[in-house]
């Protein structure tokens, strides 16, 4: 199944849309969680820093600046401190606060563990102005927040990646499965269009929407098939039932004809009537014959036949008649066309096509019957350079009783090419009428 078709399927598109929506929601969720966690961690740090700051300020209020200076120098723990005098000079600790600043601030300080001064660390600092004009800075590393937030972000990144991969795979699987079933429907429908009325859409047994659709289509095909059969049966039944009375009528007229030798006018009228009845009966026989051929019963007697040899015999038989009408009938039948078939029917098939070409072309026309090998199969073409058939009507010439407007005045029952179509179908041949530019070309493709 072609790649591009897979990506164009509706189920794949649907999967892609869901995937995009899911990705967006994962991103939003990530942002919200990040904001909440970030705020929470900041609040905890602030609370710790505020507590430490309050403890130190209490000491300052009770014992003064020197006490504070001593405490800062000796106090351990995770906090960093800074004590500046009114001139802004750092007199204790390591965090120099901006002189004018008061309240919360973020500062970037050199990493205390690595004295090279290269790396820095973000700290959250609370600056409190002292009543002597100095300021106390209590800071805590923001590092405490970095770990969990980092872990959180990477977890979300992995989740997102997994979502994308699984979603893409799931979408492909889903759509390729749907596509396979639709492909099965399409090929079944195409088989039916090609004339295989027995074809049906396979059901998977999943009892899902596609199965329901397949069942509905199959019911529709059953109905069309039964209507078609009834349609054919009506034609055959009429032809069959009318044959007997018409035969008797012809026999009575013929008996009477024998007694009318002395009256030539009556005899001529009787002869004409008999000829008309025989023409009607010939048409009925052709309808019944098409029905017989279509029933496929003749397949049992199939033998090896070379269609090129059959065609050569036909050309030889029709050549004098063609020449008499000022047309040339040419055989280009060097390539053998072996197939399993019914010689008698194949003879009639080629004869009817050549007959058709001879009857519907003017004097001077050239008709070529040619064979060619095509891969494992072969091709037989009967082409003429006569007036041809309009494109819209070209394929309809195989229909029963169909006659081109231009052909209505020529004798014929409009069944010759229907017999051809029935015989070609019986032999599994593809047949088509093409533009020979100018003229008509009828092509038979053997599927061996």
């Amino acid at each position: 199944m072609p790649q591009t078709r897979l990506f164009r399927t509706s189920s794949f598109r649907l999967a892609a849309i869901y995937l995009a929506l899911f990705t967006v929601s994962v991103l939003i969720l990530g942002a919200v969680v990040y904001a909440v966690v970030h705020t929470q961690i900041a609040a905890e740090i602030d609370q710790d820093v505020e507590g430490e700051s309050a403890t130190l300020l209490k000491e300052y209020a009770a014992h003064g600046r020197d006490r504070l200076q001593g405490l800062i120098a000796t106090r351990g723990g995770s906090f960093a401190y800074g004590l500046v005098d009114s001139s802004g000079k750092l007199i204790a600790g390591e965090v120099a606060a901006p002189t004018a600043a008061a309240g919360w601030t973020y500062l970037r300080e050199p990493e205390s563990d690595e004295p090279d001064g290269e790396s820095t660390v973000d700290v959250r600092a609370l600056v409190t102005r002292l009543d002597d004009g100095g300021a106390l800075v209590v800071a805590d590393e923001w590092r405490g927040a970095r770990g969990p937030i980092h872990a959180l972000l990477s977890a979300f990144a992995w989740a997102l990646a997994a979502t994308l991969v699984l979603g893409a795979i799931g979408g492909l699987l889903l759509s390729s499965q749907a596509l396979r079933r639709i492909e099965a429907m399409r090929s079944a429908a195409q088989g039916i269009v090609a004339g295989d009325w027995r074809r049906r859409i396979p059901e998977t047994g999943a009892d899902d929407e596609l199965d329901h659709l397949a069942r509905t289509f199959n019911l529709m095909f059953d109905r069309i098939e039964s209507l078609l059969e009834a349609h054919k049966a009506v034609g055959a039944a009429i032809a069959h039932d009318l044959r007997r009375p018409l035969t008797r009528m012809a026999q009575r007229l013929e008996t009477q004809l024998g007694r009318e030798a002395s009256r030539p006018e009556t005899a001529a009228a009787l002869e004409a009537a008999i000829a008309d009845i025989h023409a009607v009966l010939a048409t009925f026989n052709a309808i019944l014959r098409i029905g017989q051929i279509e029933s496929g019963a003749r397949r049992a007697g199939f033998r090896g036949v070379d269609l090129a040899v059959v065609a050569r015999d036909i050309v030889e038989a029709f050549q004098p008649a063609a020449e008499e009408e000022g047309k040339s009938l040419i055989a280009e039948l060097d390539a053998a066309l072996p197939l399993s078939g019914d010689r008698e029917l194949l003879t009639q098939m080629v004869a009817n096509v050549v007959d058709n070409a001879l009857r519907h072309t003017p004097s001077g026309t050239q008709i070529v019957v040619a064979s060619a090998r095509r891969g494992v199969g072969g091709r037989l073409t009967v082409s003429d350079n006569g007036p041809g058939a309009p494109e819209a009507e070209r394929q309809r010439i195989f229909e029963r009783f169909y006659r081109l407007d231009a052909a209505r005045s020529t004798p014929g029952d409009g069944l010759g090419l229907s017999v051809v179509a029935a015989i070609a179908e019986l032999h599994g041949m593809a047949y088509v009428a093409e533009d020979n530019a100018p003229g008509l070309r009828i092509v038979f493709d053997l599927r061996n």
Binding site: G258, R289, E344, L358
Partner: protein, 226 residues
Amino acid sequence: MKILIIEDDEDGAAFLASGIAERGHEADVARNGRDGLVMATGAQRYDVVIVDRLLPELDGLSLVKAMRAAGSATPALFLTSLSGIDARVEGLEAGGDDYLVKPFAFTELMARVTALARRPTLGAEPTVLVVGDLEMDLIRRTVKRGGQPIDLQPREFQLLEFLMRSEGRVATRSMLLEKVWSFHFDPQTNIVETHISRLRAKVDRGQATPLIHTLRGAGYTLRASN
């Protein structure tokens, strides 16, 4: 000729019997298969038996099979309303000698019946056919008229051979299509007519007495004199 008609349809049988009688032959009628078999294998010798395929009591195919089993070699012609493609093959396999699909022109039936009645008995197959001054050597595949060789295409040779073998009898269009071309259908194109006219040009042109004659509405015949 004495002909046995085995046909259950009253009108059909009457039509056949009266047509045969009008042409100066005798006809007996059997109305079902069992009676037909008794008559066909009885004391009365018939030249040809005309058998309908669909008969009460005993169908046509079984009847002819039984006839052959009883040692009767009387030529049998099947009539069938089955425009069956298989009908002919089945008929021939059952021991029938020819078949005709209803409806048919009476001249067609008579031409076929006559051909069957005068069929040469089994024996030495002739190697040379002679009609008047026309000679056909079946071994060398050569044809001469008045000692002058005539050059014929293979199909023309077959056509002439068939006409010579049925000298003096009618060969209808469809008989020729079947026997010479193996066409069991009737093309719209005048295949037979054009081939006959070519053959005529080779055989009869410049000759005082034509041998190939057209019988209007019936077919062709080859004979030495009128």
